[in-house]
């Protein structure tokens, strides 16, 4: 049973406290939406979850399937099954997508003895699903990608690398209507009882395609409301002002 358990998580960046005690659980099969105003700490949470070295954990814990990841390196967390689709994926010139994905996959799934050709066929198939040309295989990671292409590539990585807990940080921002549909389809296809989702978003749009089981509101480093998708609707209509901390 897949379960991410975040308990009283506190974290800071450059000495400034951003997360001030965050609690929630994501179980296999569940879809959680995380909303909140700009600067609330949503991306910080994503980065803290994957162990970004610029973010210091000040207290609390991150557990995945009973393993304590709080002190673990980013690669150990990835190998445990955590995946973050970054809000602004960085470009890495010269690092070919083909060899990057192949290396990553070997690390994450050493048991799978898939051949190079089979593996690359898989990648090509998913490139098609997210609406990217096969020629992306020989391009460098995010290098010269448009905003939307970066997002599509993040989703492709999710589908290829097969994590257990998927955190999507504003995967819907900057996507055109068709891309949003493709991305949503890819998410729905990947969604199963062994995978838990945490979808960070500002918009109701993506949640119309993907039904969240839970909606959380993060404000000023704390979860201030928990609810179901009606909460997301209310935010869309009324903003955050009505929520008193």
């Amino acid at each position: 049973m897949v379960e991410l358990k975040i308990t009283n998580l506190r974290a800071s960046v450059e000495g400034k406290e951003i997360l001030k005690g965050v609690d929630f659980d994501v179980k296999g099969g569940e879809i959680h939406a995380l909303m909140g105003p700009n600067g609330a700490g949503k991306s910080t949470l994503g980065n803290v979850l994957i162990g970004h070295p610029n973010y210091a954990i000040e207290g609390g814990s991150i557990m995945l399937d009973g393993n304590n990841l709080t002190e673990k390196t980013p690669e150990e967390r990835a190998r445990a099954g955590l995946f973050l689709a970054f809000q602004s994926p960085i470009s890495i010139p010269g690092v070919k997508i083909s060899s990057f994905l192949r290396t990553a996959y070997k690390q994450l799934h050493p048991e799978d003895k898939v051949t190079v050709t089979e593996f690359f066929n898989r990648v090509k198939e998913h490139l098609r699903f997210v609406g990217l040309d096969e020629s992306f295989m020989s391009r460098s990671v995010n290098d010269g990608f448009s905003g939307g292409e970066r997002k599509r590539f993040e989703i492709l990585q999710m589908a290829i690398l097969k994590p257990k807990i998927v955190v999507l940080d504003e995967i819907d921002s900057g996507l055109d209507v068709d891309a949003l549909r493709l991305v949503a389809e890819e998410i729905i296809k990947y969604h199963n009882s062994e995978v838990g989702f945490l979808i960070i978003t500002h918009y109701q749009r993506i949640l119309r395609n993907i039904d969240p089981d839970f909606v959380h509101i993060l404000m000023n480093g704390k979860i201030v409301r928990n609810g179901d998708k009606s909460l997301a609707l209310k935010i869309e209509e009324e903003g955050y002002d009505w929520i008193k901390e």
């Binding site: 070295p53 690669e75 290396t103 994450l108």
Partner: protein, 480 residues
Amino acid sequence: MEVELSKEEEIERLVESLKDSKSSDWEFHDKYNPIYSTGKGLNKSVVEEISEIKKEPDWMRRMRLKALEIFQSKPMPTWGPDLSGIDWENTTYYNRPDERKSQNWDDVPDQIKDTFQKLGIPEMEQKYLAGSVAQYESEGVYHSLKKVWEDKGVVFMDLDSAVKNHPDLVKDYFCKAVPFTDNKFAALNGAVWSGGSFLYVPKGVHIDMPLQTYFRMNNESTGQFEHTIVVGDEGSKVHYIEGCTAPRWDKDSLHSAIVEIYAQRDSDVRYTSVQNWSKSVYNMPTKRAWVDERAKMEWVGGSLGSKITMIYPSSYLRGPYASTSNLNISLAGAGTVKDTGAKAIHMAPHTTSKIIAKSISIEDGKAIYRGLLRMNKGAVDSRSKVQCDALLINDDSQSLTFPHDEIYEPTATFSHEASVGKIGTEELTYLRSRGLSEDEASSMIVLGFLDDVMKEIPMEFAIEMNRLVKLEMNKLGAVG
């Protein structure tokens, strides 16, 4: 796309096979003692002894003695890295590994053969090469050339053998492009040179597979002073490759080679060198090419390891429409100074040069680009392009650029581009968040930085370079 994939597979397969054949790393030390050594230190009698044991013609002996005088009278270069650590007194200038020079691996003494086998040389020879020379310490111990090329008049052997077998041919080229008056280290080479290769490609002969020499230094505090001559006669085409390694030592050793290349009219000569020195080596070769009318000279260099390296391969573009390109990759690891660059001397109209230098500095490693571009008066409509890219891995890594331009021809055009980048936490974290270890992530970024030039070097060497970068990053441990 399918082609792309099968190439990926091919690389993967080759990387795997190299892993097996070379898992022991190159920094092993053989328990092999030379059968003859001149002992430590350098003077007239040492030089005479070398000439004597080689049973050289008199002209060569006299040349050596003249070079020794010049060496002794020239001051150390002071414009570059600190060379005060070179211990002239404690260096052995000549070590003879064995009496024989074999043309069959079976005749090479076992221990030496084992070394070359560990380095994967005989295997490479079979698969990719038209011919090869293997040098151990001061002497070539093995050379071979496929019969088709021998029949076409190609000469390929260690220079000592060539002096004996083709004295007139050697005499035409020996120390013409690089006179031993050129600099202190060239003079030293002139005095004590031993080994190196002689390659002559006759008029119009195109050799489609590379020829390679592999140099192996084994004993510490030993100098290696090979002298290599490559002659591409008119309209010929050839690719010559050099590989050098040395084990890990505590004491400093000196490598001071001369490489002379003659790209004659309409010829196409490519010289690739991949050097992988141990951290105690001073690497001070002098490499120069004469490039005649419409000839094309390509320098490709990968330089890893060593304590101090100073290499500036030069092309003298002597005839109209002569062209040269120079691609250099250097990796300055902890405690290393890489002072490398290129020189292009445009002496005739419509000549072109293109220089790409890529450096990577790790820990307190220091990579310096030092270049000279000269456009002589009369080098009408000549063009040059210089590009230097540096990647710094750690906070105390350094990179410096010293381009030097002398432009005496108003119609000549040239451009310089330079970039310095640092390996970033964001890039590393991105890759690590996908399961790559810190080492894997950083070597991937480093290799990405080299990607646009990796295509230019032969695949086996690209893979070797790949392996060496990974090894270097592994040794480093934590990055950032």
